[in-house]
């Protein structure tokens, strides 16, 4: 078999917090296999060319959400992007809208805080006793929120969102989609609590429906749909509480 390898130049954003004031670009020219993903090229550079390059990755199959980066200016999972889809020069940078820890590694602590703020767990008014058995759910009930539960927390949606870039308080698409997913869950009784959160500042009403989050989502979660459904739910809940104060916002 012939050598199918082809030379490509990778322009990679580098940042060393001990030495650099700001990120700088560094080029690497390597021969790539035609079936490589962008992540394979990064791993090759790390292993064979420059061991100081830092990037995150884990599962290599678009499940763990670790390897999100800007590839030619678009937020992408590098393990999912075929290198053959790109030109002779590929620009790779850390996810936009995030503080940069080192090279291609971003600080995800802010994201974790935002996720927690929407109470992403099943809330029950009263815990079931063990002898009552598990909470049951029909396939139809599952279908109502399944799409929003497919999120892998890759943060690509935050990287694409213009509101995240300009409004630090905005809790963002994935967090809202996660909160909405639990509010739609038939086993959950915490929708009213989350609607209260969603009516607060920096949540659903900060979204200006750019739809970029849904465009870049690698798992087709459609966070823009979740955010805008959550807007409607929060308003309907508020109106019902106004008309029927004893209803408790169910």
């Amino acid at each position: 078999m012939g050598d199918d390898r082809r030379k490509k130049t990778f322009v990679i954003s580098r940042f060393d917090p001990d030495r650099d004031d700001a990120p700088r670009a560094q080029s690497y020219e390597i021969a790539v296999e035609p079936d490589w993903k962008v992540l394979d090229a990064l791993n090759y550079i790390k292993d064979e060319v420059d061991g100081t390059l830092s990037h995150r990755w884990s599962c290599r199959m678009a499940v763990c959400g670790s390897c999100g980066m800007m590839v030619d200016g678009e937020p992408r999972l590098t393990c999912k992007e075929a290198i053959s889809d790109y030109g002779d020069t590929v620009e790779i940078a850390p996810l936009a809208n995030f503080p940069i820890v080192r090279d291609l590694v971003i600080d995800s602590d802010g994201f974790m805080e935002k996720l927690k703020s929407v109470k992403p767990w099943i809330i029950r008014a009263k815990q079931l006793a063990a002898e009552e058995g598990p909470l049951r759910q029909s396939p139809a009930e599952l279908e109502e929120f399944k799409q929003f539960s497919m999120c892998i927390n890759c943060m690509l949606c935050y990287s694409a969102c213009p509101v995240v870039a300009n409004e630090p308080e905005f809790i963002g698409p994935a967090a809202i989609a996660l909160g909405h997913r639990y509010s739609l869950d038939s086993r959950d009784e915490g929708a009213a609590e989350r609607n209260e959160i969603f009516r607060g500042p920096g949540t659903v009403f900060s979204c200006s429906f750019a739809n970029e989050c849904s465009e870049v989502c690698p798992k087709h979660v459609d966070p823009a749909a979740a955010v805008n459904q959550a807007k409607l739910n929060a308003v309907v809940d508020w109106a019902l509480r106004l008309i029927l104060p004893r209803r408790g916002g169910e």
Binding site: A96, I100, D107, F145, A160, N228, Q229
Partner: protein
């Protein structure tokens, strides 16, 4: 290299022990790729502001006597006004199409026992309503013009 985003964008409440570089905006924001449609969508707000001012101006003219009203109608026949209204029409159609495109997926799976109709049905209903209102308004305004 892209411009910087808000310095606190996606920053944790308490800064970590490692110094970080400030967050960058996506390279293509605000006028590249798909961001262009979003930015244009935002900019149509200027058209609505100007249209609102024109309506206020028309209401004021109406209450200021026939000569002022006739002068306003005369101004509306000038090329700059017609040009502005042509641009406004393009802007309104663009916003309508974008809004209608997003509207179906913003519907909740259900409100109480009621489920929304399928997306294509909502989309067809929105366009039918839009065309219907436009036809009715055209008939009314054309009748007014003849009278």
């Amino acid at each position: 290299m892209a411009r910087n985003a808000h310095p606190r964008a996606m920053a944790p409440a308490k800064p970590g022990s490692t110094r970080t570089a400030p967050p960058r905006l996506p390279d293509r924001f605000p006028l590249g790729g798909r961001y262009l449609a979003y930015t244009l969508f935002d900019w149509t707000g200027i058209l609505y502001l100007l249209l609102g001012l024109l309506v206020l101006c028309a209401v004021w003219s109406l209450g200021s006597g026939e000569s002022v009203w006739n002068a306003l109608l005369e101004r509306h026949r000038s090329a700059p006004y017609i040009g502005f209204h042509a641009i406004a029409l393009v802007g309104v159609v663009f916003v309508g199409i974008r809004f209608f495109g997003f509207f179906p997926k913003a519907q909740p799976p259900r409100i109480g026992p009621l489920k929304p109709p399928p997306g294509p049905v909502i989309l067809a209903a929105l366009y039918a309503l839009w065309i219907g209102v436009t036809v009715v308004l055209t008939i009314v305004l054309a009748g007014g013009a003849r009278g």
